[in-house]
Subunit: 416 residues, 2 copies
């Protein structure tokens, strides 16, 4: 057991040219930081053998743990494996089961398997392989003079899976400090406000590391702390989540993996209830978020994307006069969308959204970013007006997540 | 005039811990790349004197141009200027006009000016100052043994202004080449296959730099080349895109900003046509992708999310017997979804998807990742069976983009 430090190396011309922002390194740093392994330097280099070797030399003299990301794939710009063989004076080893998987994969998709692809089943023979659930390029763990080199593909989803499922468990065993964390999710509160009202609670504890992570218009508070026993960690998490949540129960909705679509699923399943959606400006995003969760067919059967006024009338029974009198973006229209959704779908809960996603289409009375969001359960409706910004994609996301939060509150309220 | 290269150095503990993603470096790289100065390495280091000096030593031996970002400000972790004085053996020079500005600034905001802030008007005396319009920390240009060091604050807006308004004009005078790029987008071809069939075409040109960038199950080929005149660049882009596209016109669908939802929008607008969607396993993702594009209400009015069999029947008129005989995930069901979508929506084109997103729900005959995707235009239908993998989110994305590509082909075919 000792204190370890780390250097991250990223390979890729697209990172050097600035076309791609290197978010991989930030992800790896955060994960290492959580188990008490600080990253002391990061370097980004091109797809050239000499640069890779030089940076390995450079890194091995300074750090205990080195991560190397990118350059694993079948095309000519992917040279990492041959450089590693050269660097460590080892050969490539063929993994027959990986080759079979690869051939199956090509066959299933109806592609010819060419010999060039065999290299995807070959790895330096001093490497232990780390399972990559999302791609053909396996991760590698190479021990060298007491140091640890981890090599991964640069595709974010693959890098994230290999890091969290393979590398962190290996390193956790080697490091002294073990850090636990809890993510506390909020919606509808600016980062600075969240900071101000949570500070008095968090200041009461020593040894906490706090980060505010904004994403898709929401903010997650990440609290890290030296872990003790599983039991004490759990107790601490429950306590701190309870205290923060009680400050703003409408806005602090969940913790850790309980993001809104997951939480909605839990609540609906628990109450054996279903939901149907009617979306105008979000254009299907809410339905897509709900169905990102495995098992969502249990509680989600029907979604209407009623982008046009005609569709709001024909699919949901919104009255033409309502649209004429109040416009499509109005409380009245959303109210009729809710009633129509409940009656046409037979679901227990309905959710309806109509707004101006932008960047054009605003008026003085209803500027871009004006969105009416409603949720309903039998006779009861709750409709709110929101004012978001001018970015179309962000407006869609904020509307979708705000709708899910209103639905969360309604389900909790009706099942107390 | 000569060929220059560059190294970027970023200073900041928050970058190392992963709390902040280093987007500054990507910005600087892009700007340098455009005037033909490739960034060959990037390094991110902590707020320590030794690390700053070591990386300057390291960078000066490898590159002509070095940018150093961060560590300029009044707080304790901002040490860059004193390190520079030490490194170059020079003193600090006070700029009285900057000091006056600083005092004015404090007064205007009602703050007391303390002596600690005087340092913000002092700079190493071998530096030429570069005006920073958005902050008090001026940029610096230091010539050293024929190389150029540029030092900037790390605040993105300030860094961007100093880079584009000061550094790029200085360097443009020193450099010869400028680089152009084209992105060529493909779908449904593995990276290795794309590489193999495009290689003979790309090998005919000298001076090209090629990268294969995978994302959401699709691959983009990025071709960079020394730019000549705008007219010749355009001619070259048209030529190379035409040649690559002709190799696999079904799979190579667009270039640069023409990703699939954008391209679908262009094609539908051009033909004054509309599309409606019926989604089962993608759960609204296709509709959401289509409506990510501003102006999509012109060609998209209606989307059905028919997750349950009941909804496929009630909303789209799918026959119960079809579902019993062939199952929801079948060509027959998708065919009836298409007919129902066209008749219920009145749209010119319909798109329908039914599949098993996973990770559970597969059978031997129809394993997880089996998806039937269909597109239709009046009497004509085209339905294909796809076999994707086991990851739910990736299956949704691949299904959605494959559906948009089939729609693209059908629109092109019916409007020849």
């Amino acid at each position: 057991m000792k204190h370890l430090n780390a250097i991250t190396i990223s390979i890729g011309d697209e990172l050097l040219s600035g076309k791609t922002v290197d978010s991989n390194n930030a992800f790896i740093s955060k994960q290492l930081d959580l188990i008490g392994i600080p990253v002391i330097k990061k370097i980004i280099i091109g797809d050239t053998a000499q640069d890779i070797k030089d940076s390995l030399d450079w890194a091995f003299t300074q750090a205990d743990v080195i991560t190397l990301t990118g350059g694993l794939g079948p095309t000519h710009d992917d040279i990492t494996k041959s450089v590693l063989c050269d660097y460590f004076h080892v050969g490539l080893k063929l993994y027959p089961d990986l080759l079979e998987n690869l051939k199956d994969r090509f066959a299933r998709r109806g592609f010819k398997f060419s010999e060039a692809n065999t290299s995807q089943a070959e790895y330096p023979d001093n490497a232990a392989l780390l399972d990559n659930p999302f791609g053909t390029a396996q991760g590698m763990h190479i021990k060298h003079n007491g140091n640890h080199l981890f090599v991964m593909a640069g595709v974010p989803r693959e890098m994230e899976a290999v890091t969290t499922e393979q590398i962190i468990p290996i390193l956790s065993k080697l490091t002294q400090t073990s850090i636990s964390k809890i993510d506390i999710h909020s919606i509808g509160v600016p980062e600075s406000t969240l900071y101000e009202f949570s500070k008095p609670v968090l200041d009461k504890y020593s040894d906490l590391k706090i980060a505010y992570l904004p994403k898709q218009g929401m903010v997650t508070i990440r609290v890290s702390y030296p872990s003790k026993s599983p039991h004490e960690d759990q107790k601490f998490k429950d306590e701190i989540f309870g205290r923060i949540r009680n400050l703003k129960p409408k806005n602090i909705y969940g913790r850790d993996e309980e993001v809104l679509p997951v939480l909605i699923g839990k609540l609906l399943k628990k109450n054996r209830a279903t939901v149907a959606t009617a979306e105008s400006c979000t254009g299907g995003l809410v339905a897509s978020l709900i169905t990102d969760i495995s098992g969502s067919s249990e509680y989600f059967q029907t979604g209407f994307v009623t982008y046009a006024n005609e569709t709001k009338m024909s699919m949901l029974g919104v009255q033409e006069q309502t649209l004429i009198d109040h416009g499509a973006v109005s409380e009245e229209t959303v109210s009729e969308m809710l009633s129509g959704t409940l009656s046409k779908s037979g679901a227990d809960y309905a959710l309806a959204i109509s707004g101006i996603a932008g960047p054009t289409g605003g008026t003085e009375e209803k500027p871009v970013g004006t969105v009416f969001i409603g949720v309903a359960h039998s006779e009861h409706q709750n409709i709110k007006r929101f004012q978001f910004g001018t970015n179309r994609i962000l407006n869609k996301e904020m509307s979708a997540f705000s709708a899910l939060n209103l639905l969360r509150l309604l389900i909790e309220e009706t099942n107390q």
